[in-house]
Each structure stands twice: as structure tokens, then as C-alpha cells.
Symmetry: C2
Subunit: 281 residues, 2 copies
Amino acid sequence: MNARSPAQNAELALLLEVTGTPKPGNVDRHREYDDLRFEHFMAGAVGSTPGLALAQKGAAVGRAFERCIAGMAEQSAGNTQFGALLLLVPLVQAASTHDDGLSSESASEVVGSTTVEDACDFYRAFEHVSVAVDDPPSELDALDVRQGTRAASTLRERELTLMDVMELSAEIDGVAREWTQGFPRSFGAADWIEESEGPIAERAADAFLRLLSEEPDTFIVKQHDVATAAEASERAQRARTGETDPDVLAEEFIQQDINPGTTADLTAAALFIALERGLSV
Amino acid sequence: MNARSPAQNAELALLLEVTGTPKPGNVDRHREYDDLRFEHFMAGAVGSTPGLALAQKGAAVGRAFERCIAGMAEQSAGNTQFGALLLLVPLVQAASTHDDGLSSESASEVVGSTTVEDACDFYRAFEHVSVAVDDPPSELDALDVRQGTRAASTLRERELTLMDVMELSAEIDGVAREWTQGFPRSFGAADWIEESEGPIAERAADAFLRLLSEEPDTFIVKQHDVATAAEASERAQRARTGETDPDVLAEEFIQQDINPGTTADLTAAALFIALERGLSV
């Protein structure tokens, strides 16, 4: 029955991710912000499809990603799915171009083969949208992503591939860490989604909470600090065990501006992997 | 800013339609049935995209529609957006292939040019999915859509184009009526959506209620009878004027199994037209 292409499954993963509720601190089907609404995520997902189709055809990862972001940004709320697409693009490529299909190994091979040009295109993607980032250490100023295309000369001079760039931020960014470690959390959460039962959106919401409870969200670290992120994970754990009502936690996180965005990105990647393995909606 | 293609806007229209809430009697972001969930509409929309892309490239209307339905049906809930796609396919084609762009005239030209082969492909689409229909008058038995591909010989013998088939059901089917009259309600509701303000999903929900209040829903007629449909429109009118709470009406319709599906189809078509005219999300 499943005749969706990898690019279609990636779009569907983005849609199912935001459909899952409650996902404390994130936009979901029942919660949104005035300037970041559910409908912006719909438009972001639809806009990313030409880029996802490029990834499926085996285009360079950086180029496909930059096209995803250009299309995603065609709505008024800015960044909706930047991190999720950074995970999905290499996964789509691994699923569609590798003889052995999608696996941690094939995904690692895709990201390990990225080039300096991929890195330049990755920086170009930041020109389409404002993404929350920390100031880099001063020796890396020239590689601040906010440099956009101006970073190209530095990237070429130092011969940094996109994988090298991800290695530079792996410590502080949960998405980059997936790139450098074979996407372990994405594949792990895909297992949970496949092993559980019921509506997919509910399984995704549970995977989100479990991911968050297991590791601090690096986006919360960027927005707030390490202590807030660690505490958010403990609160997620209490919501999982039933000590707290997840819906109450969702309201609290919104009030406290705690937004586990990286965990949402991982959830989208996990949904994609599960769909590719045959999860039926 | 709007660089989405007509096929992308059509998919986004499907997603925004189901996002709008409350849409009394229909699945929306806050209401779903156990066996027909919000996520099935996400998968239905994603699945329809290869067919929508065919419509955009100028493929035959019947063929593009049949591909839309084959893809839409790749989820476990069956029919999610059959009627909406029957409106969207000719509209996408008019938007992408007509020099003057999308209008009631160009859409009428597209449907007026359909052939007997389009009619055969339309019947083929019913093989992918179970669609609620009435028994046809006995002289039309051979053209009962439940005949699927078996109707082809009759269609060829009588030289019936897809437009002819729509004319045969225009009286009892609100989607077919749009085909034969230049899509007046779709274009009219697009005006309302464009003229109003606020989140697109809310404008869509209001357009839905207004469409329903103005004319009985032919899907309710099929499921129940003319009186129930007329009464549903009166109740929708009371919800529009504030006499009834739309959320209460939504609960009542669900309990009474009143499902204004054709009105939802028209809302999706209206959203597409508004997006094509530049409505920004």
C-alpha cells in the first residue's frame, strides 16, 4: 500500500510531527503562538517539497537543503522546520540513492561525503530565514552562520566540508550531533514509534516527550541556559511517568518560553525513518 | 514571496481546509473520528501530490484525477479528499496552463474540453476508494460510479465526456454542479477568504459555515435526506449570527452523524483560488 516516495514521506513526517499533541513547548495541533501558527508549519512543509525532491534525485546535500529552506521560508512566520530539514535531507538521500536503503550506515555515508560546496550552500540557507544561534567562540567568528554567503571564502580557504562544519557544532547542537554520530536518536525514536500502537500523532507526541526526558534540548540551552534545559528534561520525565499532566506542562512551557525545538526536529526525523520502514498511517 | 506552484497551492489548500476549526460535522484540527483522523487527511494530501503535478503539467484531467485518488488512498481511512480533488484538478490545470491564468472562464474551458477517456479515468478512480453515492435512476444503472472500469463500454458507446457525466449529476451533487456552472461558489468563497482578516484557518472555517448556511450540503442529502440538509443549513446560519456556539454545533453534528462533506470540498477549492491570487500564509 505504501507507494509514497522518500520525499513524500519526509513531507508527511513534517506534517505528522506538528500534528502530534501535546508536545510541550512546541506548536502543535492544539497550541500555537500569535506569530507562529499551525498553518505556518503546513506552508513550511509544502514549501520544502521541491528541495526534498532534489535530495531524492541525489542532488548535492547542501544545494537540496538550501532549496528546502528557500521554499520553507515562503510563509510569514520565518523559521518553522530548519533543523528538521537538516536531518531529513541526508536521510531522504540515503533512502533513495543507497542500494541498501536507509540505515545509520547509509545516512553516515551521505553526510560523510559532503563537500566544501555543500558547506557554502548550507551557509547560503541562512540568508532565507532567521535562525536562533549562539555567538561562536571568537576564533570561529568568520564561520558564524549569520555570515551567510560571506563565510564562503573562509570555508574554501580552510577546506571545510559541511560535515566538518557539523563537527564544529556537535557539542552544542543536537542536530549537528546526529550528523556526526550516525543519527542514533532519530533511529532510536523511530523504533519507539514503530513498536507503539494507536494514532501516529499520539505516538509521535510520546516519542517527543521521551526524547526530551532522556537528553537536554540544545535549543533550550541556546534560548536559556544548561540548567533550564536540564530541568525541562526532568519535567518531561515527570510528564511521562504521569506525575505531571503533559497538557499542564505544555501550558507551563509556553508561559516560560521554553521551546524544545531540537527535540521536535528529532521527532520529525524519527517519523520519516518509521514511514520509510513501512509504518502505515 | 509566493513562489509555490499551483500543485503546491492545491496541496496547501487541502491542508489548510482540514486545519480550520470549528468546521461543524467535519474532521478538523480539534475533532476527529476513531477511524477517520486528522493524520489521514495529512497523508491524503501528501499522497495526492503526484496527481496534482500531472494536472499542473497539462495531463488529461481524468488521468490526473485518477492519479490523485490513487495517491490519496494510500492511508488506512479510505476517502478523505475525493470531492475536493475533483474540484482542484481542473482548477490547477486552468491556473498553470491558461495564458490568462485562473478564472471562472479558464476553469470552464478546462472542464468543457474533457473527453470520453477522461470519463473512463474518472470511473477508474472509484476503484481506489469507497465513496458514498446514491443509487442512480434505473436508466443510468450502467453508469453507477460503483461500476468502476466496467462502465467504460457504456461511456464509449454513448460518447459521454467527463463533463457530460458531471451534468448528469449536477442536480444532486454540489461538486458536479460547480463543474457545470463555472465554479461560482468556489470563486465566491475565495473572495470572502481574501476579504477577511486573521489566521487563514479561521477564515476558512468561517467560509465553510457561510457556504453551508447559504445552500444545503448535497453530501448530507445523500447520507440523510433533503430535510436534514436544509435544517443543517439553518443551524449553520444560527451559528454564524452567534445565536448558537459553533463549537456546540460541531459536537451536535458529530453526534447526529451530519457531515457537510461537499461544503468542505468547496472550502478547499476556495482556499486554492485565494492562494493562487496571492493570499499569503
